[in-house]
Symmetry: D3
Subunit: 300 residues, 6 copies
């Protein structure tokens, strides 16, 4: 069960209201790399986890991420505190209010639709979706996903720190950014505490394809590096000449029963293309005097 | 530029049509861990990448993933080939067609809406969304995301292999699963070819919070492990007693100008709660004779 | 800040695994009327609330809803515990596993994609979205929204109780359902503790339209009731005869400057319809020998 | 069946084009509190309603909301009429057109993608989704949802009125805002015309939990009010000391059959964490010379 | 303004309840090819249209599509009428109710979440989204989109007719299907009433690329037809040998100012790949004794 | 299988970075009319197509559209190259960076969240969704959809050309726009190569409704044109007087079994409206001294 204390994990001191900056901060509130995504990622993993150590760790970190959601949401509230009241009380002229909500970012929607309250959207106003949560119920995968997620959240905080000079906000964001580093370390420890975590799952790969590198992109800039060259790798450069890799005909086939076969033949016949004709088309009907239209775009 | 050869990278041989199995296979076509997500993840990273080696690798693997999208899509087509023609030609009775499209999975939508063609949805019919792609334009993060993504895709293929006994499908899925293992290896090599890749970004963390573990979930099952104990870690157990971590008051504040302050006071006053009263409510009005309703649920 | 105790608010005792029932239960985990929606609704309102009493209440209830999310998620985990392990270990034949994951509901996606872990989707596999949260930053509205949301959640629990005979699940769901009733009562008290809460906001309505009932749907079944008849109401029956309600011409107009006017005239001229002709169309080209097609559908 | 008259319910007179203001107005066209959401909410309820009085009322109001969708859409068209023609005819220089579509709001997307026609998006360009419609097929809930929805729509109109000084737009918005007040009154009458509407549904709550208030958020600002104090309420302050509320062990359990048990044991063993080790991790590999990185963020 | 008559445009007579069939019918209620999509497509186009003839036609057809939404929604209501009442009144045993809502399709969600009322989802429970509406504010495009949309809706109705043998439903669906044919004819007439409608817009194409066919997919099955062969077409077979088509270097470049150049150099240097090394990776750490894992998948 | 050459199909030369323009260009990268939508539309159709000629054409054009996705993505990368490096390296002051990312469009999200890499969103930051792809597995429909899609894409390119004066971008966009024209021509040829393509499908329409035009929108502006007048059409003007069109009662009905009937009666009775009363409502409780509120809005 969750309990709550109205003190924040870190004090938030904002110098002055700024609804545009508020709308940028939403990236870590309701954005894909934000704190709700982090909290829900670890919380749902924790519920499903049977290993007691990992379960405890996941619930620890999930709970802390919820507390970070509270911090970033509080920053948004403080930055919006002026515009929220001004718009609700109509204590400025219409022209002043119009200007104050269309000064940049997506603060117009945050004011008109959400009334300055922190909305679970990203900085473009896109509502948070659980499609951001990539957990699949296997800890050797989920821990890798968590490691990656923490590294991404760290960078988004760094970018937000780089665009504000409000010292109180910088300090709180610096705290939040640092905690992502610490969480990444914990998840790394947890991943490598599972013996034999690569490849994931129980099924081994097919030997002949597991160390093959297929050089599908060629032309200028073809490069070798440790990801395709060295003792481990077999590199396939003549891709088209080796199609398919299994030695078959490279086609897709299915064995149909008689009824399916009959229906398929009927369908194909009904919708057959006439390859020989040159039919008049709707575009021909519509081209009208515009036939002469196809002249070069004046590209200045 | 992309070029295409109508031979598949791996031959697809399906034993018999099965629209329910087709709808499960969609998970790797238009699902979050599927091949479109993989291809788009690496392709967009490749476009933005300035490092020539990584750019080449990302475009190599993106192109191969598109080719895998083609393989899994071809499996779906073969499995749907019967129902597609039967429904289009109405060559069965209505009752037979009704049964054949409501036999399980989400094959009903695949037949009625998409006509048996492979749709870019997951196995529940949810349309693919770019919200699945978590790239953020920083290679030390994106490579970690790719490593995690490959490990997830490997497992979803393993699950699909475990639920079908069609040998041709098993073989093609085994090939696709193996390639995810190979790709993970390449991305691992690429990550560790960047010197000093942890923590990501340029900004260091705040020293006092970077090795701190906050034990926010307590009660039965509290556990120690390498993620919270050992030389590196400081573990904080008395969480509430140490609020906030910065020594401030733990509250959120903002400095408001005079006009904002005035509007805020007016707004707060207008919407003030009366803490002392006990108002009659809409629920009171609606409770009617149902006041006696609140008796225990008969829980058998 | 949030703290967590690994004891649940209510003990969960499940009689036997059932992945189909698990997929139904997701409605209250990641569905629109579920516990995440409730928790996020109250949590974001609480952050933005300035009134100390309401802020405290919103955070109390938000925290309890998170704890309910944990309960319903735990039920899902228990119901999926068998299929999760069977699929991961492949300890049944393919045919048995195929049957066990396609037995109904959307359990196929829950198994293949999410591995039996509780996913933040509804019972059709649709990912949770913040579009479900309708808070707008005004307490007289948000409390009404909360009252409605609690009443809806109560009913969805009642429906789930009605479709399961597992006594432990029934008991836990009965607890959760009851708490929605209690929360509705609290929100009702809070709404009516704000004096003068109707109409919401500061701007009064336009007198002549505030008590008008427009009888736009006529024909069989036209009815009167307290919502359109009685002392308060003016009922308008001749809708078309009174268009528009303001006495103007009922059209939309804008004053354009010269440049806009010129561009508009050019655009209109370029795309003008010829009302007199009877052009040959693409459909005419395509109708071919199918002209005779338009005969009655045999409707049996 | 619906019929249409090309006269609007209220005349729309716009003073001058303004694509930024147009993009704000979209909030009530394709936004969550807008007219399409309202119309669809009442229309779908009306179809399912068996009570003749409520069915008639719902169809009356649904039809009027469609007519309001037409009014707000007409305002958008008038505000976009200049930019639409200018962009289509390219009758300004590129630099002028660029400036005119990037002046604020999300008017850039409205011009480039939708060509100045009214799109069913909110003011951030987010497409309308039926996830906004919270109807659940129970009138005691749905009427509460409608009451709340009308109160929210009223406020969003008030905010839009506050940010424009165009008298014709203000007047039309004032009409639309007032109609939301009238509709709320109708829905209130309809709710209270159902005897015994609280709690909703047939199942009563569990007596011991129906009047309990759980004080989960404590610390500074803990407050009492009519929502947790008074004759009706039992208030629980020692939350952790009373876990779980049912007197059980507070854990989640399920009875597994032998096969499930065996698979679960195998799975747990395969993925067991080693709690004693201190493994080298990927982060250790990547930290490189950056070990010295963890120094305080310069927070200015 | 819209007016409504409670008579349907076509009488709906359903033989018996069937919630699974109801969930299939939703495809034309809240699915991408359904009636809401059609109505909104034409309604929003009609609002923006300046040409009086087309405006009138669009509003005529939009209004009729709303009336069709009412018909298909009424079919859904009738098919759900039994399960709706049974679930609300709990007048069957839990086991019977469980079976009745998990018999196929996505009827489980329609019952549990929506209570049997018609929800604006497709047959997989995916909420309707305005992303289905492809109008772009240009009639020569929008009319083509409408023609295509009507042809698609016709086919989805045909598929639904093919899977039900209820004569009343077949008859109503046959009516709806036929109206799509009639609407397609009207839109065709309207498109070809605009002189010079191809290519759309004002800008002509670049002559050298407007009649070029690029044969990017080669290998088995390369075919010629009227779309790439004949008087009009130039066919390019040696695609790679002619890269790029403009005679340049085929690369992307931008001129950077000094500050941008300096930052770019610093960024590239910081994240440079070491192409020569063969770093130990996280996968190496995790491979453990599983090195022997890479053996062939037992494929049957 | 796909192969890739790192040369673009058309050289991209950008004059100078401009993140706002980059965010507009995204419309054709991850927007509904953009290149990913085009590529996926044709690729999935091509996989399902049995006709060899059409299959080849669809794969040709799909592959070219992927190559166009690469071109437009490269333009975005070049336009973002400055801001990407500046933000990553923090080589400007916070105030300068803040200004550079909030200058218009949705470039703030593109910088903060995506780090200047091309994201699969539209110009408002809305993630790409497969809901944009309207293929339904019938070539006579899908080709019409493709024709419409190409015409839309052409116009969006034209609009983008109209808002930029960068000659290199104009030239590349001119190439891409022209290719849409060429593709439309190919799809037109393919549609009319199918004999008897209208109406689509096998089922004919019901004769009496196939040539009927229903004049549902009346009032000012009622117009005749070739879409409702002429030899082919029967025009119905008295819509309400002819309800329903089938001569029945215009109502929806279903035959219920005894158990369903009994449950329905119980449900209706439980939720019956009292049409005679005039109940006190929640709004009455809340109106308080605000009764005097309903006075005209001051509309200036």
């Amino acid at each position: 069960m969750f309990i709550h204390n109205k003190k924040l994990q870190y004090t938030v001191r904002v110098s002055e209201p700024n609804p545009v900056l508020a709308s940028l901060m939403l990236e870590q509130f309701g954005g894909p790399q934000g704190e709700l995504a982090a909290a829900m990622r670890y919380f749902t993993q924790g519920l499903a986890e049977d290993d007691p150590g990992r379960k405890d760790m996941l619930l620890d970190i999930a709970t802390e991420e919820l507390s970070h959601l509270e911090i970033i949401g509080s920053i948004v509230c403080m930055l919006n505190k002026g515009v929220k009241a001004q718009l609700a009380e109509a204590s400025m002229t219409e022209a002043e209010l119009y200007r104050s909500i269309t000064a940049g970012g997506d603060s117009h929607t945050q004011s008109i639709l959400y009334g300055g309250a922190p909305a679970l959207t990203n900085s473009s106003g896109v509502p948070w979706t659980a499609a951001y949560v990539d957990s699949i119920g296997d800890p050797t995968c989920d821990l890798r996903s968590n490691i990656a997620a923490e590294s991404r959240a760290k960078i988004v905080y760094e970018r937000l720190i780089n665009v504000t000079d409000d010292p109180g906000i910088k300090e709180a964001l610096g705290f939040l950014m640092t905690r992502e580093i610490a969480h990444q370390k914990s998840f790394e420890k947890a991943l490598y505490s599972i013996e034999d975590n690569f490849p994931t799952g129980k099924l081994p790969g097919v030997a002949q394809f597991a160390d093959l590198y297929v050089n599908t992109s060629q032309g200028p800039g073809d490069t070798t590096g440790p990801w395709n060259t060295g003792e481990q790798w077999t590199k396939l450069d003549d891709v088209e000449g080796n199609l398919p890799l299994d030695g078959g005909d490279g086609l897709a086939s299915v064995k149909l029963g008689a009824a399916d076969k009959k229906a398929t033949v009927a369908l194909d016949k009904r919708l057959k293309s006439d390859l020989k004709g040159d039919p008049i088309t709707g575009a021909d009907l519509g081209a009208g005097p515009g036939a002469g239209k196809t002249t070069p775009v004046p590209v200045s």
